[in-house]
Symmetry: C2
Subunit: 247 residues, 2 copies
DNA sequence: TGGTGTGAAGTACTTCACAGCC
DNA sequence: GGCTGTGAAGTACTTCACACCA
């Protein structure tokens, strides 16, 4: 009966979907700023961000009333307001755990530093990798994980280890007080209430593309596919084919 | 008046949100398979996939009626059905454009091959990188892009170039007939109707984490923050502060 | 006049709760 | 008895359309 509260405590008012778009708006605004644009309408900004203008205005309205009717939004002011809302007016200390190909790419990724994210630690379990210099930082041994987190006040952990190691690392960073995790390992991490995990999974993105690609092809050119609601009946799919029709 | 159709043509029946979760279920199922589990309940599978069981059952019900009441789902059969639905029973040919740190990581990513994605080309504009051998493949010059796409029947393009190059590459792959793009460059690509673009953006994910992290900290320790719906009122925010209260 | 801000309407997704079947 | 499959109810998000105001 009682509607359950599924927003985290302090989210008062800003829908998750909006939060996910604010960084996109911010990027578009920065790019306008670079081009010396001082004022922008919701229509223009929406186009630059790849959304429609009504959505943009509704999103911005959750932050406050920062536009001018008949005119638009002042770029610089809006940049500031969104940055503040996202917490980018302060620096966030990040540690990257797992320095394989992906970890290396992340360590060198310019988009971090430029948005107030400071990589303060690279850690790996592989003795051959420990000690290597990557993007101006020395890779440390995973044994130092807890020390690095506490000493350097790391608040976001980026997990780029192999799948098998990820949960163990997650447990350790959480035990050390980290409550935000960006996970690149292809596993579902289980963490206590109050810890945020965001997941980036390359293979999942490709699979979603494959789904749509298959549909675009009109289902993979099999006659059976026309009757079934499934895309590509494999050889010998007769049985489940019948079941599909019953549904 | 007329409700507009915003699903792509052939999506008949499967919600986008469901499609996005099918790869997660598939991964959980594979892991069960590896452990020799033959049958699984919606409750167990849901836990392994990090969702609740009602959602899982609803999702699966869009594919067909593949479970047995009182028993659960046969793992192998379900793996097959989901794979088929996602189009993973066929191979997808992928080209990676941009072989910097990230492109390299992608080229070596095991999760591609194991899910029916075959990387058939690595391309870059940098003469120093062209000719290098990466994960058993030779990097080719970007000039060969169109040839590679047509000759090898590439159907998915992965763009891992710097932001400035991404739109140009997108235009070229689309002109060569590619209709599915996975974009790692931090820009909004504009593509014709019918082309699917999925975007992975590391910096956006971090910014979303930062937002929640800030909220967890109770807003950035400013007294005004308690009354305002914004996290950290800047100096001189009194005006919009009032407006916020009216909302 | 032109463009924001927002109630209201529409759509998509999630969760509940239980009938139905093994 | 236990677990799936699914209408119905609830929630979240999007889009419309226009009042309001610089």
């Amino acid at each position: 009966m009682t509607p359950r509260q599924n927003r985290t405590r302090a989210d008062r008012g800003i829908p998750e979907a909006t939060v996910a778009r604010l960084p996109v708006y911010l990027r578009a605004l920065h790019s306008l700023q670079d081009r010396g644009v001082a004022t922008v309408s919701s229509e223009e900004l929406a186009t630059a961000a790849g959304v429609n203008s009504a959505k943009l205005r509704k999103d911005l309205s959750h932050l406050g009333s920062y536009g001018t009717r008949g005119v638009g939004y002042e770029v610089e002011y809006l940049v500031y307001q969104i940055s503040r809302e996202l917490g980018l007016t302060q620096d966030w200390v990040v540690a990257i755990i797992g320095v394989g190909n992906l970890g290396r790419a992340l360590a060198g990724y310019g988009g971090f530093a430029s948005r107030g994210f400071r990589v303060a630690g690279l850690l790996d379990a592989d003795e051959d990798i420990v000690g290597q210099e990557i993007s101006g930082m020395t890779v440390e041994h995973i044994d130092r994980l807890e020390d690095v987190i506490t000493e350097r006040s790391v608040s976001i952990a980026v997990i780029a280890t192999p799948a098998a190691a990820a949960q163990g690392v997650a447990d350790r960073v959480v035990a050390s007080g980290v409550t935000s995790v960006l996970n690149f390992a292809p596993v579902v991490l289980s963490v206590p209430e109050g810890v945020d995990v965001r997941k980036v999974d390359l293979s999942i993105e490709l699979q979603i593309l494959a789904f749509h690609e298959q549909r675009k092809a009109g289902g993979p050119g099999d006659l059976d596919a026309l009757a079934s609601k499934n895309g590509a009946p494999p050889p010998g799919a007769a049985q489940q084919y019948v079941e599909a029709l019953e549904a």
